[in-house]
């Protein structure tokens, strides 16, 4: 089995937040915490990302965006909600435009609490996420193998998998 967990690439999305958690996510990349020693790369491109890191709550406007970014990520993928807002909506929960935490639009796998979440706990979340990533990758491999053995015809969605918001 290939050891894919040594290369977890992040896509960081900032929802409706106070930006505290963003700063902490970026702090993970700085010399003190240096998440890159775990192979982490902050790609900023869903096509290349494995772990979707969401900070801040989901509001009416960014819900379709988060959904689309999630859909653009190739399988296997893991979602990490960083900070109280991303977990539950936090202090903004009762605001008129807030839907709630990240799990209202995408399936969240790892919740990292904290307001703001500390870099240590974010890295801890990433480490948990990469183990999950490894596990999903193995499942994905098995599925691909089964499909190959089953001799399934090459499939391609005629249309993009999920077209997100129309109009």
């Amino acid at each position: 089995m290939a050891n894919v967990k040594r290369s977890p690439w992040l896509l960081h999305y900032d929802g409706s937040s106070c930006n505290g958690c963003d700063i902490e996510v970026l702090a993970c990349m700085t010399p003190i915490y240096d998440a890159e020693r775990l192979g982490v790369e902050n790609t900023g491109d869903p096509m290349q990302a494995d772990i979707f890191l969401i900070t801040g709550g989901i509001n009416e406007q960014n819900a379709p965006v988060v959904k689309q970014l999630y859909d653009q990520m190739p399988r296997p993928k893991v979602v990490v909600a960083v900070g109280t807002c991303a977990c539950t909506g936090g202090v903004f929960k009762e605001a008129y435009n807030i839907c709630g935490g990240a799990d209202t639009v995408v399936p969240v796998d790892i919740y990292v609490p904290g307001c703001a979440a500390r870099p240590q706990s974010i890295i801890d979340g990433i480490i948990k996420a990469r183990d999950l990533f490894q596990q999903r990758s193995e499942e994905h491999d098995a599925k691909v193998k089964a499909e190959k053995r089953g001799g399934a015809a090459p499939v391609e969605a005629g249309k993009p998998e999920n077209t997100g918001k129309e109009g």
Binding site: A2, R6, M29, D34, R37, G44, D45, Q48, D50
Partner: protein, 288 residues
């Protein structure tokens, strides 16, 4: 003949490993320069394995075949080079390979790759004169474009071609996608174009692209070695040392320079090419 065959096979088989290792080293050294621990040296290979394991996604079907062509042409160029054939022809084929990369980027009609592609073209335009002049410089001194003839000289050609060498190392910064000239691919944390030309490449497509970049790095460093290698077998050792030195220099530049605008890049590279290669050229002509 056998020697040529072996060297070609070595290139095809070993270049990706060498290129990947160098990139790993690059990331490690960069991290150390920034006071970080950095990823393991083998990190690029881990990334590569992961990319091949991921779901294969595309935006446009043609992306994959264009990237495959890019890689095949790049390998072919490398084989021409390590097979000891015509250097100038090598560089011309290299430019054709670059065209395929551009196609792979713009065919998606995605905004970020399109701008990235345009910048890539500008980069091509910026470095091509220096590349061709390098070949011309070798021809001027040895009377041949053939790599075979160029490496069988009694002395290292850098002695006569320091200006050309400098111009080449200067454009190597573009070729290796290093700051201040990392305009199109947005390596590292420069992300105003997201991932630039590679934005729409995911999974295996990105893996293809990465491996091709490694092939290219090795090819470019091979050209650096041409400046050093001569009849003396010890010169090969010297060439390796110079390559490592040049590589370190590029990393240093990468970590100490802010990026410049694309037009500034073209102007800078052209001026440096004109001045350093041009003056060297003039001197050589006067001496001859």
């Amino acid at each position: 003949m056998t020697a040529k065959f072996i060297s070609i096979m070595c290139y095809i088989l070993l270049a990706p490993f060498l290129g990947g290792l160098l990139e790993g080293l690059d990331r490690k050294i960069s991290a150390r320069m920034q006071g970080r621990v950095g990823p393991p040296i083998l990190q690029p290979f881990y990334d590569l394995v992961k990319l091949t394991k991921k779901q294969f996604i595309i935006v446009d079907r043609s992306q994959h075949f264009l990237l495959l062509s890019y890689m095949a042409l790049m390998i072919f160029t490398g084989c021409m080079f390590f097979g000891g054939t015509d250097l100038l022809m090598c560089f011309f084929v290299l430019s054709t390979a670059a065209v395929f990369l551009y196609f792979a980027a713009v065919i998606t009609s995605s905004p970020y790759t399109t701008i990235g592609g345009q910048r890539e073209l500008l980069q091509d335009m910026a470095y091509e004169p220096a590349l061709l002049l390098t070949a011309v410089g070798f021809y001027l001194v040895t009377g041949s474009f053939n790599v075979d003839t160029i490496i069988h000289t009694p002395y290292s050609l850098i002695a006569k071609l320091p200006g050309f060498f400098f111009a080449f190392v200067f454009i190597l910064t573009i070729k290796m996608r290093k700051s201040p000239f990392d305009e199109s691919a947005s390596h590292h944390a420069h992300q105003e174009l997201v991932k630039g030309i590679t934005t729409e490449m995911g999974g295996r497509n990105l893996a293809l692209y990465n491996v091709t970049e490694w092939y290219e790095t090795v090819l470019m460093l091979g050209v650096v070695a041409l400046f050093i290698i001569n009849e003396n077998p010890w010169s090969y050792l010297a060439a390796v040392l110079v390559i490592l030195l040049v590589y370190f220099f590029e990393i240093l530049v990468d970590n100490t320079c802010a990026r410049v605008k694309t037009t500034t890049m073209v102007k800078m590279t052209w001026i440096v090419t004109l001045l350093s290669a041009g003056v060297n050229f003039l001197v050589l002509m006067l001496v001859h």
